[in-house]
């Protein structure tokens, strides 16, 4: 599969990080399915966002550096972007969800009132 030979110092930590990253991410996404409410589900994917991605990026840095025989760190930019960007998404999605559940609840209660009258 991989044409290039990597030195051991790169292979071992990279493999470990990849396995951890993969597991964290898949567990996080599993949370999307398993957790009961939307607000609880919000927490699942952030596992993949943070540590999962971090592991993979570090693994990538190690492997690229080994490949090119010099330190490669451009994966760091991805980390920066993810860190900057994820609060924006989280805040807006959260707020939208709050608004929608509130409205839904209000409607439900209006409906109940109307039924009572």
């Amino acid at each position: 599969m991989i044409a290039t030979e990597f030195p051991l110092w790169a292979t071992l930590p990279a493999s470990l990080l990849l396995v951890i990253g993969g597991l964290l991410t898949v567990i996080g996404s599993l949370g999307l399915l398993r957790l009961p409410t939307f607000f609880a589900r919000m927490h699942g994917p952030s596992m993949g966002n943070t540590l999962g991605t971090g592991c993979v990026l570090i693994a990538s840095m190690i492997l690229s550096s080994a490949l090119l025989h010099r330190p490669v760190a451009h994966e760091f930019i991805i980390t920066v972007f993810i860190v900057i960007v994820s609060p924006v998404t989280a805040m807006l999605v959260m707020r939208a969800a709050r608004y929608r559940t509130r409205v839904k609840e209000e409607r439900r209660q209006q409906g109940l009132q109307r039924e009572q009258e």
Binding site: I84, P87, V88, L92, R95, V103
Partner: protein, 979 residues
């Protein structure tokens, strides 16, 4: 040369006439008269040549590739007709000068009259059958205009239309026939065709040729069953009727039949068709003429009858009959034109042409009465007038027309009966108009017309008399020249004498005279008050049938249009998809498409899993798109992501990059649009439950599955075949050394096939301009004009929220996102420049870079709001687009200055101190053009959509009042000032 003049002069005259002032009655008449007289003179001048048997010609090459030359050819027969047309034209012009009212806009009249004359002469002189058809159709067109001269009258319009439709249809048939004739004869030249008679008659196409040519001739000559247009054409001004509908145009059909007589005649088919058509016209026309109320109606039906007589003669397949036919053509022209003129004089003098109202006019207008009497007598076939002579010949010919008792006895009998009709209607015409007590209640007081109006009629009557009394001296030589031109050596001997002894034809003539008198007497006694319709025939009104046919045709066409075409988009798409599928399937099936033999790669379960996701998203989108648009959009986005991964998987990084950026922008774009598509409420729609709706869904489902299967099959068929490497070999080999780029895909885009990219960015630019233009006139759906429900319900930024361009950060929940997203802007800019600059060697390029920058700008709009952003910066997307196009264009043209072709890449290697070697290429300039255009176009489209919200902001609560928005930041600055 004079031949050309004869044809050309009338057309020139027509052109001049059209530009004369509308009240220049005299100038017009002088012009037309001079033209007609000159033509007559020119024709007469050619008599010596023609009578010696010579054929005068003039050939101008025109379309030799198709054997088509402008060929004027005058032999004796053509000469006779040319004379008829031009001389009669001169008389009619004189007559018309006095007939047309001073208030009539005569330029149009004389212009078309002259054009008609030219067309008629051209037709007669055509030495080429196609050219003949051209002039033939021209006579139809000019006669259409002349009939409709008084187009404010509904009969005029209707009559003109009927005439045109029938005769033009005949003309088309004639064209078809002539084309076949030319094919068989090996050319369209009349001489060639005339020489190929035997060949043509023996050819298997002969019946078709004959029928087509006869359709042309019979419609033009108003023969049964196409006769009906002629009476309707009487709505034309009387000079027109006299000229076209008696003397010239209706003769075109029989003229042609005689012209082609040596080629087409002599067969049974010819005999039967022409005899039946001619006889029917002869009898029916005569019969119907008896009962008309309108003077011109009588004359029109009489014309049908007389033309029937000529047709019948032509159909008899004997040479003497042909001579008689040609003779009667001349005679009929003289007396009928004269009668029309008389009818016009009566109409003019009294204000009516109604036979029942008119009476005793011989007291008021004796000269007219005399002239009409003589002409009518000629029409009735009274001895010592020209009509008598040709009718005598006709009677004689009927007896030898064919074998068998039915024909031998029947035909003469019929001819005699027709003669009776002729006598009867002539008698009626004269008696009811000119005899009896003078009518009192006429619209005008009857009076004799001016001499100018009488003169033409008088000349014609004189001709009737002269020919009738001295046929051998007057018409004899001309007739001989004419018939010799047709029959050549085989011209029969005949004698033109008033007295041939007491022959059977003479007896028939007298029987006809007597019988006609009796018929009129009976009619006069019993049916004084005619309704203008002939008994028995009333139900078979050709004109009405024609109208019904036309209307039925139009209705049927409407019905057919609705049946075979749909204006529904779904049907159209179904057609396209279905036909493409069926056609491809048929070809595949007949071409035996099967899998190739290339080795397949092993399945990777991860990839399979990804496409389970992608497929599920696609199907989910298909299911949800009607009521849950947002869900469908998200699912389509999911499919797009998987597509992007697939590109990346199979070694297409540029594609993956482009796909993902386009994907994001598309989602934003459609979301911007969803704001203006009001929600669809899912309800238990009864219409969805009907059997038809269900059937349709099943059908569409089957089609969808079939198309999907077909596409999969095609893809697999290709994938299982070995790859074609020729093109990629060239690109891979030349990419680095000669184009200077390592990323072959990008090199293809900006160098090898830069022209594609050139077009592609133009498309993007065009679309942006269109979107912008369309949104300027955007009228949103009423339900969506107000603030979105979410904003009304969510108190955080209430309905009265006013964006403040001076505030540094948005208040409330948007504050933190604004801080972060604004921080991202320069970084995104950096990334976009990065992609732009490195595209040539690694994935990237102007398009991706441009989309990155555009997206970064759009996100600023999302967090800051349109007004805030535009108050702080002026983005001029249009200029970006224009600059992008110009940059790409100049990158192309710059090569010209190096003597290279468009879009050839030029490179410049600089070695700068400190920095080192710098490699500049015109492809980078090109890519910068792409970049700028994409930035401009994307921003323009998205922002133009976003700007639609300004209307609800500017008029909170207002409904559908705003009509226009302005694009640039002027809006923002205005609102800024307003606060």
């Amino acid at each position: 040369m004079s031949l050309v003049l004869i044809v050309l002069l009338p057309f020139l005259g027509s052109l001049v006439a059209a530009f004369l002032p509308s009240n220049a009655r005299n100038a017009e008449a002088w012009l037309a008269g001079i033209v007609a007289v000159t033509c007559t003179g020119l024709v007469l001048n050619l008599y010596p040549e023609v009578t010696s048997g010579e054929v005068v010609r003039h050939v101008i090459p025109w379309l030799p590739q198709f054997g088509l030359n402008f060929h004027l050819r005058m032999d004796g027969y053509a000469w006779l007709f040319a004379l008829l047309v031009s001389f009669m034209g001169a008389l009619v012009v004189l007559y018309a000068r006095y007939y047309m009212s001073a208030a009539d806009p005569v330029p149009r009249f004389f212009s078309f009259l002259l054009a008609f004359m030219g067309a008629m002469v051209g037709m007669v002189l055509s030495g080429n059958l196609i050219q003949l058809v051209v002039f033939w159709e021209l006579t139809s067109l000019t006669s259409f205009m002349l009939i409709a001269y008084w187009y404010h009258l509904s009969e005029a319009r209707h009559g003109a239309r009927t005439a045109l439709t029938v005769t033009a249809m005949g003309g088309l048939c004639l064209l078809g026939g002539v084309l076949m004739l030319g094919e068989v004869a090996g050319g369209y030249e009349l001489d060639r065709v005339l020489a190929a008679g035997d060949q043509i008659r023996a050819h298997p196409w002969y019946p078709a040729i004959l029928i087509l040519v006869l359709l042309g001739a019979l419609t033009k000559s108003a023969q049964f069953p196409f006769h009906f247009w002629l009476p309707h054409a009487m709505a034309a001004p009387t000079p027109v009727s006299a000229y076209l509908h008696s003397a010239t145009m209706v003769k075109a059909g029989v003229f042609l039949l005689a012209r082609l007589w040596p080629v087409l005649s002599g067969t049974d088919l010819w005999f039967w068709i022409l005899c039946l058509a001619g006889l029917s016209s002869l009898l029916l026309g005569g019969f119907a003429a008896i009962f008309q109320r309108d003077m011109k109606g009588v004359l029109a039906y009489s014309t049908i009858s007389h033309l029937g007589l000529i047709t019948l003669l032509l159909g008899m397949n004997t040479r003497l009959a042909l001579v008689a036919a040609v003779f009667h053509m001349m005679n009929h022209a003289t007396f009928k034109a004269s009668l029309f003129m008389a009818a016009g004089i009566v109409d003019h003098g009294t204000g009516t042409r109604d036979l029942q109202r008119l009476s005793g006019l011989s007291r008021a207008m004796p000269i007219t009465a005399t002239l009409a009497l003589v002409a009518a007598a000629a029409m009735a076939g009274v001895p010592l007038l020209n009509g008598f002579l040709s009718k005598e010949m006709f009677f004689a010919e009927t007896m030898f027309a064919g074998e068998g008792p039915a024909i031998r006895i029947g035909l003469p009998a019929m001819a005699t009966i027709a003669g009776m009709f002729s006598v009867a209607y002539s008698l009626r015409l004269i008696h009811q108009v000119f005899f009896g007590p003078l009518a009192e209640d006429l619209p005008r007081v009857p009076h004799e017309p001016t001499r100018g109006m009488l003169l033409p009629s008088a000349l014609l009557v004189l001709a009737c008399l002269l020919v009738g009394i001295f046929p051998g001296y007057t018409v004899g030589p001309f007739l001989r020249t004419a018939t010799q031109a047709i029959l050549g050596e085989q011209t029969p001997t005949y004698s033109l004498a008033v007295w041939h002894g007491l022959t059977l034809p003479l007896v028939m003539s007298f029987v006809a005279l007597l019988g006609g008198f009796i018929i009129y007497l009976l009619l006069y006694l019993h049916r004084r008050r005619s309704h203008g319709h002939a008994p028995l025939l009333n139900r078979f009104d050709g004109g009405r049938t024609f109208d019904v046919v036309i209307i039925r045709l139009i209705r049927a066409a409407g019905l057919a249009r609705r049946t075979i075409a749909s204006r529904r988009l779904q049907s159209q798409l179904l057609m396209i998809v279905g036909i493409a599928f069926v056609a491809a399937a048929l070809v595949a099936w007949s071409g035996d498409v099967h899998w190739g033999a290339a080795q397949l790669s092993p399945v990777d379960p991860i990839f399979a899993l990804l496409w389970v996701v992608g497929g599920a998203c696609a199907i989910g989108a298909a299911v949800q798109a009607k009521y849950h648009r947002l869900a469908a959009l998200i699912m389509v986005g999911g499919t797009g992501l998987i597509t992007c991964l697939t590109f990346a998987w199979f070694s297409a990084p540029d594609l993956a990059l482009t796909q993902i950026t386009v994907e994001v922008v598309t989602v934003v774009l459609i979301l911007l649009g969803l704001r203006w598509l009001p929600r669809r409420i899912e309800m238990n729609d009864a219409r969805r439950q009907t059997l038809r709706a269900k059937a349709r869904r099943v059908r569409d489902g089957i089609i969808a599955v079939a198309v999907g299967g077909g596409m999969a099959t095609l893809v697999f068929a290709v994938l299982s075949r070995p790859r074609m490497v020729d093109l990629s070999r060239f690109f891979v080999e030349h990419s680095l050394p000669q184009a200077g780029g390592g990323n072959v895909v990008n090199v293809i885009l900006v160098d090898f096939r830069a022209f594609d990219t050139f077009g592609e960015i133009t498309v993007v630019g065009i679309v942006a301009l269109t979107v912008y233009a369309l949104l300027r006139r955007f009228r949103p759906a009423i339900e969506s004009v107000g603030l979105p429900r979410a904003q009304r319900e969510d108190g955080a930024r209430g309905t009265q929220y006013v964006p403040d361009p001076t505030e540094l950060l948005p208040q409330g929940y948007m504050m933190v996102p604004a801080v972060l997203v604004r921080m991202l802007l320069p970084m995104a800019g950096l990334i976009s420049v990065f992609f732009l600059l490195r595209g040539h060697n690694l994935p990237g390029g102007g398009f991706i870079g441009g989309l990155v920058l555009a997206t970064a700008v759009i996100v600023q709009y999302m967090v800051g709001g349109a007004i805030w952003v535009e108050a702080r910066t002026r983005i001029q997307p249009l200029y970006w687009i224009a600059s992008g196009l110009l940059a790409a264009g100049t990158a192309g043209t710059i090569a010209w200055f190096a003597g290279r072709t468009f879009l050839t890449s030029l490179t410049l290697d600089l070695d700068l101190p400190l920095i080192g070697a710098i490699h500049l290429s015109s492809t980078l300039w090109f890519d910068i053009g792409v970049y700028m255009l994409v930035v401009g176009a994307t921003v323009l489209m998205l922002v133009a959509l976003a700007h639609q919200s300004l209307r609800s902001y500017r008029r909170p609560g207002a409904v559908a009042q705003s009509t226009d928005i302005r694009m640039d930041s002027r809006v923002a600055s205005e609102t800024q000032e307003a606060h």
